[in-house]
């Protein structure tokens, strides 16, 4: 039958000057699924908006209150400091791991193994109580030397460095061996090869997981509330322990985390674009 239709169509075609219109397949299933999902989403949002227990008015009251903003500020600088120090320590660790020196390789491997094995919560408590092992450090009382904020920076940095080391190492391994050989053949020094040739190319593979780490760290800093560091989460906890408005204040913290994460994601897009220069996909 089809050959018959084809013949007829072919016979009819030459007379028609206008091109034949293409009618796409009707995708009823796609529409049905989309409607169902939208309805469910609408119901969920509706219940969020109209559940009085959320007390959105209270959320509004505290969203920009001084104590919450102070907590937010601590969360932000703690994240920045921990990420900066984490990568500052992680980059040489990655270099050690890739070095020809077996001792450096072993030390780097051991560091990553230890600090990735240890839960960050355990580590914070450990540093917080280090005075039990060393009551004095260089003649100074350990409790005076290691306050809660110092412990938070120390513990989070050591933890972060282990992950940063692996992220940087992965980036370096992604750079083609021929790039290093070409730089060697041109007589470029070890430092120059590293700074100018390897790292900029490694950055393309480093940025996405580093962005992940940054956002993870931002939220992960909330763990320091256990040692009474007044970050964003601890600040809202202080309020709700007094007022019992638990849900609205948790929403305050959540909304701030969402806002900052969104800003960071936009930033990551531009950083990626910068390091992608010269690659085919930006042409």
């Amino acid at each position: 039958m089809s050959s018959d239709t084809l013949t007829k169509a072919a016979a009819a075609a030459p007379q028609e000057a206008a091109p034949l219109r293409i009618v796409p397949q009707r995708r009823l299933g796609l529409w049905a699924t989309a409607v169902a999902v939208l309805v469910l989403l609408g119901l969920a949002l509706n219940s969020l908006a109209h559940n009085d227990a959320f007390q959105w008015g209270v959320v509004g009251d505290y969203f920009t209150s001084a104590s919450v903003l102070r907590g937010l500020w601590l969360t932000l600088w703690l994240t920045a400091v921990v990420m900066a120090l984490g990568f500052a320590l992680g980059t040489p660790l990655a270099a050690f791991r890739l070095s020809t020196n077996p001792v450096l390789r072993a030390v780097s491997w051991g560091y990553v193994w230890l600090f990735r094995s240890m839960p960050i919560l355990v580590q914070l408590l450990f540093w917080f109580n280090i005075g039990a092992l060393y009551p004095q450090i260089l003649g100074v009382k350990t409790v005076n030397l290691l306050g809660p904020v110092t412990v938070a920076v120390l513990g989070l940095t050591l933890h972060e460095a282990a992950y940063a080391a692996e992220v940087v190492r992965g980036g370096i391994l992604s750079v083609d061996r021929g790039q290093i050989e070409a730089a060697q053949a041109l007589g470029l020094s070890r430092w120059r090869r590293w700074r100018r040739i390897v790292l900029p190319q490694a950055m393309r593979s480093i940025v996405p997981p580093a962005g992940n780490m940054l956002i993870g760290t931002l939220k992960g800093t909330s763990i320091v509330s256990v040692i009474a560091v007044q970050d964003l989460l601890y600040s809202v906890q202080l309020v709700y322990h007094r007022t019992y408005q638990v849900m609205p204040l948790l929403m305050v913290a959540t909304l701030w985390y969402v806002v900052v994460t969104s800003v960071l994601s936009v930033g990551q897009y531009y950083v990626e674009k910068h390091y992608a220069r010269g690659s085919e996909r930006t042409r």
């Binding site: 021929g178 060697q184 053949a185 041109l186 007589g187 100018r196 040739i197 190319q201 220069r277 010269g278």
Partner: protein, 277 residues
């Protein structure tokens, strides 16, 4: 050109290191009984080769014959297990003291490498740098030339390889043939005394091979000393002063292209040529 500036302390070593050929002129490259293994696999089984200044030596042979490894030992990208290699009178990667060769610190090896240009099969241009930045990187940072001079020289070199308008392009925006011409310009920017080409056209589409070979031929006619590992027999016939045929880690025969390519003395050379021609 720079010969009179060379440290005089080296001359005693230089005379000993540089082999002399029949005409008495010192060889630019002198390779003596070089052996090299990768694990249990011996890829160079005692290589002796001399290249005179201003000559073009083309190395041919089946894949796995050790020709690329030999080329890479000349600028110390691969370390030899035995034997020695001198370029322009000094050992590459080593310092001789008595009957021992001491490996040099990396800084000095890097200095030696700036006098030997190397062109890779896969170009190995730096993808995150523009064409111009690729070329000026080594003159500015390895030779400490003033940036303006290096840029001016780079533009002249780009003009010479026919890519004057591509200075600000990124390598990925160029065809393979154009990339390899940039790589040649990058090697030339160091004004090397010796140029090494490792299968410079093997990664190219057939229609792009010609433009790269033309640049290399032009260099040959200007009297640049070079060693070219290639599968392009026609190029060897046209440009080479000496053709070297390698097989299984050894030099089977070498001589003028008219002899090696037209009247090979060895059965293995004949078999190889029958396959590639």
């Amino acid at each position: 050109m720079n010969a009179p500036d060379e440290a005089t302390g080296e001359t005693a070593v230089s005379a000993a290191a540089a082999g002399t050929n029949q005409t008495g002129a010192p060889a630019m490259v002198d390779i003596k009984s070089v052996r090299k293994s990768f694990g249990p696999l011996e890829v160079l089984k005692g290589i002796d080769l001399q290249v005179r200044a201003g000559e073009v030596t083309v190395v041919i042979g089946p894949s796995g014959s050790g020709k690329s490894t030999l080329l890479r030992t000349i600028n110390h990208l691969e370390k030899v297990d035995q034997g020695r290699i001198s370029v322009d009178g000094s050992f590459v990667g080593y310092r001789r003291s008595g009957d021992k060769l001491y490996e040099l610190p990396e800084r000095e090896i890097l200095g030696q490498r700036t006098r030997i240009g190397f062109v890779f099969q896969n170009f190995n241009l730096f993808p995150h740098l523009t064409v111009l930045e690729n070329i000026v990187e080594a003159p500015v940072h390895a030779l400490k030339r003033p940036r303006e001079d290096a840029v001016a020289a780079a533009r002249r070199l780009l003009d010479r390889v026919g890519l004057a308008d591509k200075a600000d392009a990124y390598p990925k925006q160029l065809s393979g043939g154009q990339q390899q011409r940039v790589a040649i310009a990058r090697a030339l920017a160091l004004e090397p005394k010796l140029l090494l080409f490792d299968e410079p056209t093997s990664a190219l589409d057939p229609e792009l091979v010609g433009e790269v070979l033309d640049v290399i031929k032009d260099l040959a006619h200007r009297g640049t000393t070079m060693i070219v590992v290639t599968h392009e027999i026609g190029f060897a016939r046209e440009v080479a002063d000496t053709v070297v045929f390698m097989d299984d880690g050894r030099i089977v025969e070498q001589g003028a292209p008219g002899d090696v390519l037209e009247r090979p003395a060895h059965e293995r050379t004949r078999a190889f040529l029958a396959k590639v021609l």
